[in-house]
């Protein structure tokens, strides 16, 4: 069912190219921080729809609960008390996956088909294919994915791909009491944002603006911020997010080099085993050495 409704643009670590013929609407979720009341309805609706329940935690002296994203909490509200020009502000930001156009997680993921980008812009994790290596976490400039302790697989917001695939909005969007979260085509969301930014400017927020960072090719979750010049004020939203050097390198010249190196190591190991017998692997190369099939790697 869903394969027909959501076309795939990119798959992690997959040998074949994805079909590119069909064009679908590029969607986006717009989070207008200036009308967010931090009620956490989005958190609750997310967990309800997705059948996840975080453990009941503790109050640690702030309103934030759960205190961080987890495999069982895909979105959390982050509260920051800030004072500027003698005026107190309570900046409340819904944190979760940004669904980057150029997703660092997907680039970093070594497991074929564990991370998928649909042509509408959603970046989805497919846990059946996840090997729990955690590279998506190092690949993510927003520190979003989390590995579950129960099954050692990575989880994050799916943008309710199951709902979007049948034409519905994500659960958080639907439930949002004040309409601070909206959903539609990315183009429409940019228009909505422009209207909001204009309103905020009339209310004295000279630096109001849209957060759609180009360092990751733009995102499919965007924010309207009263202080777009200082995104860090919103509980550390990165000013200029970009995919980490490690992942960039990996996808660039390092990967083929490593492949050759590993293949060589594998072959060496294989012949070493045949000719010399078993060796005791040191900590660093135990994985590679344990896998004599590495010679297949050059096809990837």
């Amino acid at each position: 069912m869903a394969l027909q409704s959501l076309d795939i643009t990119r798959r992690s670590a997959s040998p074949t190219a994805s079909p590119q013929a069909r064009k679908t609407i590029e969607i986006a979720k717009l989070i207008d921080v200036s009308t967010c009341i931090g009620c956490k309805a989005c958190q609750v609706a997310c967990s309800e729809w997705n059948d996840i329940r975080e453990e009941v935690g503790h109050n640690i002296g702030v309103y934030d609960n759960p205190t961080d994203l987890s495999a069982d909490a895909w979105t959390v509200m982050r509260f920051a008390e800030e004072e500027s020009n003698g005026k107190l502000e309570w900046l409340i930001r819904k944190d979760g996956c940004m669904h980057c156009a150029d997703p660092g997680c997907l680039k970093a993921c070594p497991s074929p088909g564990a991370i998928i980008q649909y042509s509408n812009g959603i970046v989805d994790f497919h846990q059946e294919n996840c090997i729990g290596c955690g590279y998506c976490i190092s690949g993510c400039p927003f520190n979003v994915p989390r590995i579950s302790k129960k099954d050692n697989k990575a989880y994050k917001c799916t943008m309710c791909s199951d709902r979007v695939s049948v034409g519905q909005e994500p659960a958080c969007v639907k439930t949002c009491p004040t309409g601070a979260i909206q959903f539609g085509s990315k183009e429409d969301m940019k228009d909505v944002a422009a209207t909001r930014v204009a309103d905020l400017k009339t209310r004295g927020y000279a630096n109001a603006g849209l957060y759609d960072p180009q360092g990751v090719g733009g995102t499919h979750v965007m924010y309207v911020l009263h202080h777009a010049d200082k995104p860090e004020q919103y509980s550390g939203l990165p000013k200029d997010p970009a995919i980490s050097t490690t992942v960039q390198l990996w996808k660039g010249w390092l990967k083929p080099l490593a492949t050759i190196g590993i293949a060589a190591a594998g072959l060496f190991g294989f012949f070493h085993y045949i000719t010399v017998g078993p060796n005791r692997p040191d900590d660093d190369d135990e994985h590679a050495a344990a896998n004599p099939a590495a010679k297949q790697e050059d096809k990837a």
Binding site: M1, A2, R11, A13, P15, S34, T35, C36, I37, C39, K40, A41, V44, E48, R53, V56, G57, H58, N59, G61, V62, Y63, N65, A73, E81, L88, W90, I92, P110, P112, G113, D124, H126, N129, T158, D162, V166, K174, T175, P177, T178, G179, A180, R196, D199, T202, S244, K255, A258, I262, D284, D285, H287, A288, N291, A293, A294, E297, K299, A300
Partner: protein, 1018 residues
């Protein structure tokens, strides 16, 4: 370069491992990937209404199976109904988590009893439970019911068993409970309205004629200015607050928040101003003074539609903090001097020029002249510029084409001056001409899903359905005196004075109570109604229990141990009862008040001899019925699944209990048995009256053909038909109606409450969606949106207008439809004056004008306006409670309690999704005070009052600022109220161990918003 050797090998190795799997043929299918399958395609959808607050959001319940008989429906998902005109698919964190309420591990499944002195529950059968309870009740009633007083007035008053009714129950449960209660003679009864919006009813009814939110949720979008004060709309009513945000987005509306805390409403406001809890009247009184001084008055409106020109009698006065007529010994006012001067015809004298020194305008002006900006700042601690900005913004709306609204809730009601807080704002809205206007009004945001309905149904000690009063022993010993004293005479010529129809409402109600047994010969069964002597509100009930004067307590969907003030006293009071009956879907602290929970609830079960019965009831998702939203919409909901275990519907529980009792009276006889034997109980299954039957009774039906007085040969209704509305009610016994204001909700055309046409007829009005009392009017007093000549004050905001023949428009006119502008009839049709009251004559216990009095526990210990009268002179406080008041010397900080958006009262700590979102009890402390006390973020602190203490986590925040009040620094501590020991959240202390048992002068709603505490690091 951040790639070291180890990273390089890890990356490479994983790639090798993964790609190798592909190579070995394990994963081509997975590599394509699919999204999770959409889970609702074939699920059955049932329409319902959220059970928490009174925004009344639409729900869709999704259940397993498609409704086939062989499939057992199990609700597996709930989301918002996108067709609902108010919620439009949204749900707040409570509504979004409803699934976990329905499936809470704390749901009750079987009847249980906790025997005297025992430390455990024992499962029993329904039969045994009902029979044991009925025996207790009959024994107590037979021993204690009062038959007649010394003058021979029949009393049917049973004071030794009390009952609380459920604000989340349906109207249908409410009305059958009303019949049950009054036939038994119970007047020690109350609903959650007493601990929340009692003062709203009192204040708004005494000003405008009806005690309800005046406009609707969607209408907030029509406001040019929104003040949120005495409430926290974003947190307590998030989905209703949608429309405040809509106004901001679409009209450029300014939103100002005035509150002791910078709260989540403040987070999206244009301006936030701090205020000391309990200093709202100085602030609002200051606004009145400023508006008058700066001539920001909608003069035409004020002169035409208020009593500004009415002349007050000579005896009225105000001096040194006291209005005329104060009796110090009684601690009460004789209110006879708070009256108009009448002419020979009984009409109030007026001076349209407003020159008369005793006209309301001049008295009001003089009264509030004392509330200067300096006085405001001194008492409130609010910066003067902020106060003036609020005045300016409000003042802008004095123009006919600018309208402002106020959203408030318990921040104003839960004070000894609760009703007067609201009165002050009501007066401001009249001065600005904002009443009856789209985008205006005084919007009381009710807290519980059907507390509006329970208020409407008279489930309060001295009330009857439709805001009729229960007869009083002294004032109304017989039918004639009741009718004479409760039917007002018009105070101006040509007024509608709708309460002049009281006899029709009352006789129709009696026909519902007693059926064929009510006749003109027996005054419609008047003698069988219980007669009250005093108000038995919850504070009074607890006091009587504490004195050992009560034996039984029936608690339907209420958690009084957590909800009532001074939990220690409440526990002692409950421990003196013989029996307690809990009817609830979930486990409450009240039901386990006999359990020891360490220092948070240190009791010895063996010492408590109360027999406690716990009966499991259905919740909203498991029943049909209607509940009334804050905007007075009666919305019908449908059952989505069966209740768990042996849980039964409330109607069934009340039905079985009543019939068991009645059977006992039939067989054994008993004291004052007549009302029990005579009450009409003609339901298809007497043990389980259906929601439909009861809803139809609330609408009312014709008991004989009702000829149409306007057209010969036509009928308003034929015998046996449902009535078209309350205009058809009669006082000759030919109509029966359980609640006159609900008449029109289930007519011959069917169930109007189930209507789902969301067509916008203009300005966001959706008259085809559900049904609103009265007569489906959505904005009360909407005649006042037009000038006296019948044209809208603001042509862009035309709600109704006079078309030459009648009033018509987007809303149903709240007026006599054919009374033209030249009729002289005025818009406030429930008031005998026809106009709204700036001076509310004798309607309130504590004064015809609001005056600032300090909370009973004042942080400054004086009242700079009149040091001899510090707190309100009209407060009722029991001796034992007075002894439990603290002073600012021992308890220097102001405590104020409130709700968090993640939780609903004491229910959602039993709901996993909400427990996750806000898991543990905390208090909010300003940075300055925290520093002084050496408290840091996340510390455990102890907050204590004269009455008890709690321990909680500290949220240290910039959002609570130290205020300068009367020359001293006042720190306020914010205390969310949601915790206890039952539930799935972290266990906590009962917040209401802290506040004092003293209430609003008019309604006894407890002073939860301002009391004194101390603070230490635990």
């Amino acid at each position: 370069m951040e790639v070291n050797r180890r990273q390089f090998f890890k990356l490479s190795a994983a790639q090798v491992g993964a790609s190798s799997l592909v190579a070995m043929g394990f994963s081509p299918a997975e590599a394509l990937a699919e999204v999770r399958q959409y889970k609702l395609l074939g699920a059955r959808e049932t329409r319902n209404t959220c059970t928490y607050c009174s925004v009344g959001c639409g729900l869709i319940l999704y259940s397993l199976g498609d409704g086939a008989k062989n499939a057992k429906a199990e609700i597996m998902h709930i989301e918002g109904d996108p067709d609902h005109p108010v919620s439009r698919g949204s749900l707040c964190p409570k509504g979004a988590g409803l699934l976990d309420f329905i499936h809470s591990p704390k749901r009750l499944k079987y009847p249980e009893v906790r025997e005297a002195g025992s430390n455990e529950w024992k499962r029993i059968s329904w039969h045994d439970a009902i029979h044991r309870i009925a025996k207790h009740m009959k024994a107590d009633r037979d021993a204690n019911v009062l038959d007649k007083n010394a003058d021979g007035v029949p009393l049917n008053r049973w004071l030794t068993t009390a009952m609380l009714t459920a604000s989340a129950g349906s109207n249908e449960t409410g009305i059958i409970t009303q019949k049950f209660l009054r036939s038994l003679g119970i007047i020690a009864t109350d609903a959650q309205a007493r601990v929340c919006h009692g003062p709203t009813v009192s204040a708004l009814a005494s000003t405008f004629g009806r005690g309800a939110m005046t406009n609707s949720w969607v209408d907030i979008k029509n406001a040019d200015f929104i003040l949120v004060m005495g409430g926290n709309a974003a947190e307590a009513h998030p989905v209703g607050f949608k429309w405040a945000i809509e106004a901001k987005k679409t009209r450029g509306t300014k939103l100002i928040v005035v509150d002791p805390r910078y709260n989540r409403t403040a987070a999206v406001s244009d301006l936030y101003m701090p205020i000391r809890a309990g200093a709202d009247i100085p602030f609002l009184g200051g606004v009145i003074n400023w508006l008058i001084a700066h001539d920001k008055i909608h003069w035409e409106y004020v002169k035409a539609y208020t009593n500004a020109s009415f002349i007050v009698g000579e005896g009225f006065g105000f001096e040194e903090g006291l209005f005329s007529g104060y009796d110090e010994a009684k601690g009460k006012y004789d209110r006879s001097s708070w009256a108009y001067e009448l002419d020979a015809d009984g009409n109030a004298k007026t001076d349209p020029t407003l020159q008369h020194p005793r006209c309301v305008w001049n008295l009001m002006k003089a009264h509030f002249a004392r509330y200067t900006p300096e006085v405001v700042t001194n008492l409130c601690g609010t910066p003067v510029e902020g106060f003036l900005e609020v005045c300016k913004q409000l003042g802008e709306t004095a123009r006919p084409d600018k309208v402002g609204t106020i959203l408030y809730a318990l921040g104003w009601t839960q004070h000894t001056v609760g009703a007067q807080n609201i009165r002050t704002m009501a007066m401001i809205q009249l001065l600005l001409g904002n009443m009856g206007m789209p985008g205006g009004g005084v919007n009381a945001l009710r807290g519980h899903s059907n507390i509006q309905g329970l208020s409407d149904l008279g489930l309060l000690s001295t009330a009857l359905p439709g805001y009729l009063t229960l007869p009083n022993e002294k004032d109304h010993p017989d039918y004639a005196s009741y009718i004479a004293k409760t039917t007002p005479k018009a105070l101006q010529p040509n007024q509608f004075n709708y309460w002049s129809n009281t006899p029709k409402f009352f006789v129709s109600l009696m026909k519902w109570f007693w059926g064929d047994k009510a006749s003109a010969d027996n005054n419609w069964g008047f003698d069988w109604l219980p007669k009250w002597d005093k108000l038995y509100d919850v504070l009074h009930i607890v006091e009587l229990m504490h004195q050992g004067k009560m034996n039984g307590f029936i608690v339907q969907g209420f958690n009084p141990l957590a909800s009532f003030p001074d939990a220690t006293k409440v526990t002692q009071a409950f421990s003196k009862l013989k029996y307690m009956v809990i009817i609830d879907p979930i486990a409450t602290e009240t039901s386990t008040f006999w359990q020891n929970h360490g220092e948070s609830h240190d009791v010895n079960p063996a010492d408590i001899h109360t027999e406690v019965f716990r009966l499991p009831s259905t919740c909203f998702a498991e029943e049909d019925g209607a509940i009334v939203s804050s905007a007075r919409w009666l919305q019908w909901h449908w059952k989505g699944a069966d209740a768990p275990g042996e849980a039964k519907g409330d109607n069934e529980i009340i039905g079985e209990l009543f019939n068991t009792l009645r059977q006992m009276y039939l067989q054994e006889g008993g004291k004052v048995a007549e009302p029990i034997l005579n009450v009409a109980w003609n339901y298809r299954d007497p043990n389980a009256p259906s929601a439909e039957e009861l809803a139809r009774e609330m609408n009312g039906k014709a008991l004989a053909d009702l000829p149409d007085p306007k057209e010969a040969g036509k009928f308003l209704a034929k015998k046996g038909e449902q009535l078209p509305g309350f205009a058809a009610l009669q006082d000759d016994g030919s109509t029966s109606c359980a609640c006159w204001i609900f008449s029109g909700s289930w007519t011959q055309a069917g169930n109007q409450m189930a209507r789902r046409d969301n067509t916008d007829t203009g300005l966001g009005n959706t008259p085809g969606w559900s049904w609103a009392w009265p007569a489906n009017r959505r904005i009360l007093y909407n005649r006042a949106s037009c000038n006296p000549a019948g044209a809208p004050w603001d042509p862009t905001r035309k709600l109704i207008g006079w078309n030459g023949e009648k009033w018509a428009g987007a809303d149903i006119p709240d007026f006599k439809a054919d009374a033209g502008p030249d009729s002289g009839m005025n818009p406030f049709i429930m008031n005998p004056e026809g106009v709204a009251r700036l001076f509310c004559t004798d309607k309130l216990a504590d004064g015809p004008f609001p005056e600032h009095y300090e909370p009973m526990e004042s942080p400054i210990g004086t009242n700079p306006l009149h040091p001899k009268v510090v707190s309100s002179p009209a407060v009722r406080i029991f001796k034992t409670d007075r002894e439990r008041l603290g002073t600012h010397k021992e308890f220097p900080y102001v405590g104020t309690t409130y709700r968090l958006t993640e939780h609903f009262q004491f229910w959602t700590k039993s709901v996993l999704l909400n427990a996750i979102a806000q898991p543990e009890q905390f208090v909010e402390i300003g940075e300055a005070l925290a520093k002084e006390k050496g408290i840091v973020q996340g510390d455990t602190v102890k907050v204590s009052s004269k009455r008890g203490f709690i321990k909680a986590k500290a949220v240290v925040t910039k959002r609570l600022m130290a205020l300068q009040v009367n020359g001293q620094t006042v720190h306020q501590i914010g205390i969310p109220l949601h915790w206890g020991w039952e539930g799935v959240a972290q266990k906590g202390y009962l917040t209401n161990s802290l506040p004092p048992a003293v209430g609003d002068c008019n309604t006894q709603t407890p002073e939860y918003k301002s009391f004194l505490v101390n603070l230490e690091k635990a």
